[in-house]
């Protein structure tokens, strides 16, 4: 069988453009399309629709390989830390997640560990009211590790199922802020040995190639275990999540699809890839 069958190059080029347009990255797109070209030749696939199906399958596979069941928590509380650069949706997602866990009949506590930004604590308190979840807080400008300590002790003594920790937005290039996050993680480990059980990197779906560097450095300082991709109700495709899955082996756990409390969905790789390829 000849291995040099023709593949529809125009179709491949269209697919490559749509991958780049989705923010998957020019190099990642080229590698994926090269692999698709090889496979297309070997399987004698010529038409564009079939190539697109193959591509859909491959992208889904990249994402599915990172999906793993969330590890069972030895003893409550399960501690979930929300981290990420400024403005991505950490506080909003904390509120949505609190409601989501409550809907599963879990008892939830939240920690307002962003003691820096103007009205950050007040913002989380509104989400606490909306989700019916109590917030452990301190005064503005207080020590984030100290309020985290209080929240962990409270969650333990009250036997809460889940503790959600909202942290301040910070750029991964700011060493002192990343060190603060590392310190918060170590504080958590001292009080609850397996915690934090989940460290969710909250990323804006409009983020470009910088998202990879964010994921790398946040994983170094905070031990990221998964991604929440927000603002997918916009027109951005969030393709950076595929580059992150491929290179850093991180799963997407949830997606944010709006500003209301119910606008959160567990990640569905098929739906995500369908929307990406259009």
């Amino acid at each position: 069988i000849a291995l040099t069958r023709e593949v529809d190059e125009a179709a491949l080029e269209d697919l490559e453009m749509s991958l780049i347009a989705s923010d998957i990255g020019v190099t990642t797109a080229a590698e994926i399309i090269e692999r698709l070209r090889d496979r297309g030749k070997r399987q004698g696939i010529r038409n564009g629709a079939e190539l697109k199906d193959l591509l859909r399958e491959h992208l889904k596979q990249i994402l599915d390989e990172q999906q793993r069941p969330v590890a069972k928590v030895a003893a409550p509380p399960e501690v979930i830390m929300m981290v990420g650069v400024n403005g991505t949706g950490k506080t909003t997602t904390s509120g949505k997640l609190a409601a989501w866990y409550r809907a599963q009949a879990k008892t939830v506590l939240m920690c307002a560990a962003d003691t820096f930004r103007a009205a950050a604590i007040e913002q989380l308190e509104v989400w606490g009211e909306r989700s019916g979840v109590e917030i452990v807080r301190t005064k503005q400008g207080g020590d984030p590790s100290a309020v985290l300590f209080d929240a962990l002790q409270a969650a333990k003594s009250r036997h809460n199922d889940v503790l959600i920790v909202d942290t301040a937005g910070r750029l991964h290039t700011k060493n002192s802020l990343m060190a603060e996050l590392d310190k918060m993680r170590r504080t958590t480990q001292r009080i609850i040995p397996d915690a934090p059980h989940e460290v969710l990197l909250v990323m804006d779906a409009t983020t470009g190639q910088n998202g990879l560097q964010q994921a790398r450095l946040f994983t170094e300082s905070a031990g990221v275990t998964g991604i929440v991709l927000t603002k997918l109700d916009g027109t951005a495709k969030g393709g950076i999540a595929i580059a992150i899955a491929r290179e850093l082996k991180l799963p997407v756990r949830f997606v944010g699809v709006g500003e209301k409390i119910e606008d959160i969905l567990p990640f569905d790789s098929g739906a995500f890839v369908d929307s990406l390829l259009g």
């Binding site: 453009m17 780049i20 347009a21 989705s22 923010d23 990255g25 020019v26 190099t27 650069v85 400024n86 403005g87 991505t88 949706g89 930004r117 103007a118 009205a119 007040e122 913002q123 308190e125 509104v126 989400w127 750029l171 991964h172 290039t173 700011k174 804006d204 779906a205 409009t206 983020t207 470009g208 190639q209 910088n210 998202g211 560097q213 964010q214 603002k231 109700d233 916009g234 027109t235 951005a236 495709k237 950076i240 500003e259």
Partner: protein
């Protein structure tokens, strides 16, 4: 880096010769990759490469180093031309108050930038008034109030009177703030708005209504420097609905290359007027095109 990649791409063009379509092909590919990795929009990159190719072909190559230097210079000049060579001016009203309307997607930095703009205007001897018409986001109006307090700027708080969050309330607050600015002798009014999607027709209508109500001298699109390919779509729609007068690129204190600046400038024709370089009110600078070009080219 790009220079090294171009050196390799030009290994057949050492010494003398002329740049032709063939011998610069590999170099153009490297430039394309560099621009895409810097988050410049795909279609903008296509246009840029065409212009660069046009300018390069026919150029005489003088020394072994010169093809790389020449092409880098062409690329650099092309990007600076696209961004607009000079630092853009801020538009004041002939009769106060000058109204500045902040616009943009969720989380881009509008509220923080409103405070920075007020601080910048104060330094320039102005008397700004701030108002938040973000009646939607939890504690948004409180956030601006705290920011205003920290820089001792006037802020119109207004009373929402338990009215439901919606455009009528937004319009009422904006009207009252403008009147208050006039009464208190504030010569500038900065209107902070809620983040919104360019595909949300009700909220985009609200922006259009705010514009009609306030007749702002400046409508600033506040965009996150780490925005990727989607930057053109949102910027284009905001520009179509509002006729933007300028762009603020925030979070430039990170390591995002900032290619979105090129994309947004290209699709709106409007200049980047300021950049945000941090979370504090003083982390705000007028934009210099050549600095971001260096950053985009890595």
């Amino acid at each position: 880096n790009l220079s090294e990649k171009l050196q390799r791409a030009f290994k057949n063009l050492r010494g003398q010769g002329t740049m032709t379509e063939e011998n610069i092909q590999e170099a153009l590919r490297e430039i394309r990759v560099a621009l895409l990795e810097a988050d410049v929009n795909l279609n903008v990159v296509k246009d840029l490469i065409d212009h660069i190719r046009e300018k390069a072909i026919g150029q005489e190559v003088m020394t072994a180093l010169s093809p790389t230097e020449q092409v880098i210079k062409i690329v650099h000049d092309e990007l600076v031309t696209l961004l607009g060579k000079d630092t853009a001016r801020f538009q004041f009203a002939s009769r106060p108050p000058t109204v500045i309307l902040m616009a943009g997607l969720q989380g881009s930095g509008k509220t923080t930038t409103s405070g920075k703009l007020a601080a910048w205007l104060q330094k320039g001897g102005h008397r700004p008034m701030l108002v938040s018409v973000d009646v939607y986001r939890p504690a948004a109006r409180e956030q601006l109030r705290v920011v205003a307090q920290s820089i001792k700027a006037n802020i119109y708080q207004g009373d929402t009177k338990g009215e439901p969050a919606g455009t009528p309330l937004v319009e009422r607050l904006a009207k009252e703030a403008r009147r208050e600015a006039v009464i208190t002798g504030c010569d500038t009014l900065i209107v902070d708005t809620a983040g919104r999607l360019h595909i949300d027709s009700d909220l985009m209508d609200e922006m259009a209504k705010l514009k009609a109500l306030l007749s702002p001298q400046e409508i600033l699109f506040v965009a996150d420097a780490m925005t990727g390919q989607d930057a053109v779509r949102s910027a284009e729609e905001f520009h179509r609905r509002l006729a933007l007068t300028g762009i603020v690129l925030t979070k430039m204190d990170g390591d995002a290359r900032g290619g979105a600046a090129l994309s947004i400038r290209h699709v709106t024709g409007q200049p980047v007027k300021f950049i945000g370089m941090g979370e504090k009110p003083d982390a705000f600078e007028p934009f210099h095109p050549d600095r971001i070009v260096g950053r985009i080219l890595g």
